[in-house]
Structure formats: structure tokens, C-alpha cells
């Protein structure tokens, strides 16, 4: 099962994880959850806005998950990436990977978020109490060899 969703609405963690628990064979599930952080500055974050290129984003996420399926023995994989205006603490991205052996679930999950960070066409804009700023790409993300 591959489930990729790009949506503005929030999601229910319990509901998503329960789908993975129905798999009787593969006991290891790893989740990555990325949420909106407050700014490390004097300004206060009011909203984090996420813009994306719909057709390409879906395509890149699909290709990423297919690569992960080829490299590790994934039985199920979910990606939810949100767009629109989000508040501090709201979830941005959820990635769930399921495998028989836990090492594979960790590796696959990290691979997907690393790849997503440098390749998937999403852009963040911070709306603070003073101004609005496009987020700059984190150079650390580019240093990751995949």
C-alpha cells in the first residue's frame, strides 16, 4: 500500500497508524512527523504558509516512495504533506514506513524525508507579527548523500 496525500486539512495520527497495524506480517513501523516551529527571533510567527507545485510535487513524492520500495522491503508507506496557512505546532509532514525488520523502516523513512526536503517542490513563507519572509533552503539538507 502506497498512500500519498497533499492536503490543506490536518490529519488524525491514530487513524493513520491503525491502518498500518492491520498488517499481520511486518511488525516494525517508523513515523516521522515534522511540525511548524516558532521562530528563533524576536518576531512572533503568526502563520506558516506552504505553497507547492501540485503536479510535480505528487510526481516527486511518488518517485521517492518507489525508490524506497526498491531499496528496502517496504510493505506500506504513507506520506501526508500539508499546504496552505498553518499555525505554530501544527503538523506539516507525516511519513510512515513499515517493514519486517526495523532497520529498514528507519532507513527508508529517513531516505524519504531527506529526498523530499531537497527535491519536492514545496516552499514555506513565514508570516510574523511584523513582516513576511520566504524560508531559505537549509544548506544541511543539501549535504546529505543519498
Amino acid at each position: 500500500m502506497i498512500d500519498i496525500r497533499i492536503q490543506s486539512s490536518d490529519f488524525n495520527f491514530e487513524k493513520e497508524i491503525k491502518k498500518f497495524q492491520k498488517n499481520k506480517i511486518d511488525g516494525a513501523v517508523v513515523c516521522f512527523l515534522g511540525s511548524v516551529r516558532d521562530l528563533n527571533s524576536e518576531e512572533e510567527l503568526k502563520k506558516l504558509e506552504i505553497e507547492y507545485y501540485p503536479k510535480m510535487a505528487k510526481k516527486v513524492l511518488n518517485e521517492t516512495v518507489k525508490k524506497a520500495f526498491d531499496k528496502w522491503k517496504l510493505s506500506q508507506c504513507l506520506i501526508i504533506h500539508r499546504f496552505g496557512k498553518l499555525n505554530v505546532n501544527e503538523p506539516i509532514v507525516l511519513i510512515i514506513t513499515q517493514t519486517k525488520h526495523r532497520k529498514d523502516a528507519f532507513r527508508a523513512n529517513e531516505y524519504i524525508i531527506d529526498f523530499l526536503k531537497i527535491n519536492a517542490p514545496f516552499w514555506k513563507k513565514e508570516h510574523t507579527n511584523k513582516d513576511s519572509y520566504w524560508v531559505e533552503q537549509n544548506k544541511k539538507d543539501l549535504d546529505i548523500s543519498i
Binding site: Y53, V93, K117, N119, E136
Partner: protein, 82 residues
């Protein structure tokens, strides 16, 4: 040719998309960038002063990519999702 823009580059260009008839001597992405830089000073500013990526029909491409069969060209800044 339909060109679409995202995020900061969309704001700099001042529109979400633009239909431009590219002259016949524009073969590669590099040719297109040179052409657009001459086309007006807004494009000149974007390509001179900002990091950008180009996707042809939803695939990232290099500057020497030949655009002949492309339906949609997207120009956008480095991605910051996740």
C-alpha cells in the same frame, strides 16, 4: 510556451504564469534564460540575483536541456518543504 512561477520567484515576476512565444533560435534552457533576460528587466533581475531551478513538464532539468517538446516550464527557488 507556458511558463509558470512559484514562491519568491512568482512574487518577483509579479504573476503566476506567462505565455511567451520563444524565437526559433531558443533551443536550450540556457537560450531561454538569455532570451528572457533581454525580454525585460524583471526577468533580468531574477536570473541575475536569485537562485532558481527549472522544471520541464515536472522534471528538473539542467541549463543545456533542449526544450523543444516541453509543454510547461516551471521556474522556482530552492525548495523548502518537509
Amino acid at each position: 510556451m507556458k511558463i509558470i512561477f512559484f514562491a519568491k520567484i512568482r512574487e518577483l515576476i509579479g504573476k503566476e504564469e506567462e505565455n511567451i512565444t520563444l524565437p526559433e533560435n531558443v533551443v536550450t534552457i540556457n537560450d531561454m534564460v538569455s532570451f528572457l533576460k533581454e525580454y525585460n528587466k524583471i526577468y533580468y533581475n531574477v536570473f541575475e540575483n536569485y537562485d532558481f531551478f527549472i522544471a520541464c513538464d515536472e522534471e528538473l532539468v539542467d541549463m543545456d536541456y533542449k526544450i523543444s517538446n516541453t509543454k510547461e516550464i516551471a521556474i522556482f527557488p530552492p525548495v523548502t518543504g518537509g
